[in-house]
């Protein structure tokens, strides 16, 4: 076999291992998938009436707010997956099995690619579940097939980016507790952006942060693709942020994993 086919075979083996782990930790997997749905229901039915009225759109209210908040909830699903990834990686690194992998003639990053692929599948499942829940409570996107495809592509890209970053978080953490705390800021990013309310309703300093942080252009792009609002330069920014975060996460993870293991 060639190096490439070893890389693919070993990554596939590690992915199968990861999927088995998720099945054994079914409650964790279900929580990560269910959490964004719960937040969606919370925001739409508890806050939605008031927040929707504040959007300043004629006929605002709960129905308007479902449309507004869904892209934010999708990003929240992506960010929530990050915590699970970081914890899973940190836990794995404390196990002797990873030391064994290091003494075997296998494609070295396959332990990490297995985590990334497994986490991406889980996160994308959470995204699909959130989207389905949103449609069930009145979210009516008007996207064309191409726009749906672009949405899926962008969400997969940000999931890849966030997942690699959380793999690095998991590797750099000395304890599992630390690993569960590091991705916390990511979970708050949709709130501190255009995910739940328009940024121009925020005080100046916060608005400045909200407009320049990575999740806002991604949320704006998803919103534009699904609902036909203006996208502007958000699409370019969104792709650039995804590429940048992926690169940082990947390079950092590789570097952390290839150093001598510390016990």
């Amino acid at each position: 076999m060639t190096t490439l086919s070893y890389a693919v075979a070993d990554s596939a083996t590690m992915l199968r291992r990861q999927l088995r782990h998720m099945r054994r930790y079914l409650s964790v997997s279900l929580m990560l998938i269910g959490m964004p749905v719960v937040f969606l229901l919370l925001f739409v039915y508890v806050f939605g009436g008031t927040l929707g009225a504040g959007l300043g759109v004629p006929g605002g209210g709960r129905t308007t707010y479902v449309a507004y908040v869904t892209p934010g909830i999708l990003l929240m699903a992506v960010a929530a997956g990050a915590t699970g990834t970081a914890i899973a990686v940190a836990m794995d690194m404390t196990e002797g099995i990873v030391a064994r992998f290091r003494t075997m003639a296998i494609f070295r990053p396959s332990v990490l690619t297995g985590h990334v692929l497994g986490s991406m599948l889980q996160t994308l499942l959470a995204v699909v579940a959130s989207l389905a829940a949103a449609v069930a409570i009145g979210f009516r996107p008007n996207a064309t097939a191409v726009e749906w495809l672009a949405t899926a592509g962008l969400l997969a890209f940000i999931t890849l980016a966030v997942t690699w970053l959380s793999v690095a978080f998991g590797l750099v953490s000395k304890t599992v507790e630390a690993a569960s705390n590091l991705p916390m800021p990511l979970v708050f990013l949709p709130f501190l952006g255009s995910g739940f309310v328009p940024t121009d309703s925020m005080p100046t300093a916060l608005r400045w942060f909200a407009e320049y942080q990575p999740f806002t252009p991604i949320i704006e792009t998803v919103r534009g693709l699904l609902l036909g609002t203006a996208i502007g330069d958000s699409a370019v920014l969104a792709v650039a942020w995804c590429a940048g975060i992926t690169l940082v996460g990947y390079v950092w993870s590789r570097k952390l994993y290839s150093r001598d293991p510390v016990r």
Binding site: M1, R16, G96, R100, F101, R102, T103, M104, A105, R263
Partner: protein, 323 residues
């Protein structure tokens, strides 16, 4: 095969390693012949695990050269990884997977076909007496079962050289015996075994050669018997037929300590054949009849005490460096 036979399975020269400013290994030299069992014996914190980590490509060395299976661990770690199997001090099994899934995972990573992997896994489960618990998660296994699974996982790839880091630490006596027999069988099948242990008895039972590691230095190396012979304290114990014989023998053998009540005589000896023959010849010429004879060589405990200046279980020993 004659070429590989003449080449040692493991060759280490001038191996040095520090963690921060703590020197853990200080110029280790050793050679392990193919198909033999080599024991690295030492107290906690002597540097045994660090040595295994370097030999198995887990961490890098600071100084010296290490060749395993004829390949340099620093220059071509993957070539080394292809011929070794490792069983760690902390059992390296995936606790969330079943015993069978653990073995199949290893088979997949060795790029065995599905069928071949299944057969191999089933064979090992049978051989290691794990077939009954094959479908239970490894987290539910007892200590002995986990070690056996761990060892089986290291064998899936048919390694030529097997590293066992304290393979029986924490096991009950019965599991330990089982593990010993498994290790002996492997060596009989031609596998080179490099094991670390803090149990003198274990090294004595299993190893063809033993190296004593203390504070990162090798203080002695040889076969178990060679090591024991280096230590004073060995003697021949003779039981004579009657008090007259005891009297005669005692006058013939200088330095002998007599016990009139038991009719025995303790004669200092290095335990070698030559000195034994000399004693018997002398008694024979004087027609002194010996009714019973036993040779007492010092055990490895004496060796340890003499060579390291401290008993092996000194509680003040530093632990493995916390890193």
């Amino acid at each position: 095969m004659t070429i590989t036979r003449s080449r040692p399975a493991i060759r280490v020269s001038g191996l040095g390693k520090s963690f921060g400013d703590k020197l853990v290994l200080d110029g280790i030299d050793l050679e392990v012949a193919e198909g033999t069992i080599f024991a690295l014996l030492g107290p906690n914190g002597a540097g045994k695990t660090t040595t295994v980590h370097i030999l198995t490509t887990l961490i890098g060395a600071d100084a010296g050269e290490v060749a395993v299976g004829g390949q340099d661990v620093a220059a071509d770690p993957d070539a080394v990884r292809a011929v070794i199997g490792v069983t760690g001090q902390l059992t390296a099994v995936d606790n969330l997977l079943t015993g069978e899934e653990n073995l199949l995972l290893m088979a997949d990573l060795h790029h065995r076909g599905r069928d071949q992997g299944r057969r191999r896994a089933a064979g090992l489960l049978e051989r290691f007496d794990l077939a009954e618990v094959a479908r239970n998660p490894a987290a539910t296994y007892s200590g002995g079962m986990r070690r056996k699974l761990d060892l089986a996982m290291g064998l899936i790839g048919d390694p030529r050289i097997l590293f066992l880091d304290e393979p029986t630490t924490g096991l009950d006596p019965r599991s330990r015996r089982t593990m010993w027999q498994l290790i002996r069988d492997l060596a009989a099948g031609g596998v080179t075994v490099f094991l670390t242990t803090q149990y003198l008895e274990e090294a004595d039972e299993l190893a063809d050669r033993i190296a004593l590691l203390d504070h990162g230095r090798l203080v002695a190396e040889g076969t178990p018997d060679e090591l024991k012979r280096r230590i004073p304290g060995g003697h021949i114990r003779l039981r004579l037929a009657d008090p007259g014989g005891l009297e005669a023998a005692a006058s013939l053998l200088e330095g002998a300590v007599r016990d009139d009540e038991a009719l025995t005589l303790r004669v200092p000896s290095d335990g070698g054949v030559r000195s034994l023959r000399a004693v018997l010849d002398r008694l024979d010429r004087a027609a002194v009849e010996v009714s019973e004879l036993s040779i007492h060589t010092p055990d490895l405990d004496d060796v340890f005490l003499t060579l390291t200046g401290q008993p092996d279980n000194d509680p003040d020993q530093e632990m493995e460096p916390a890193r």
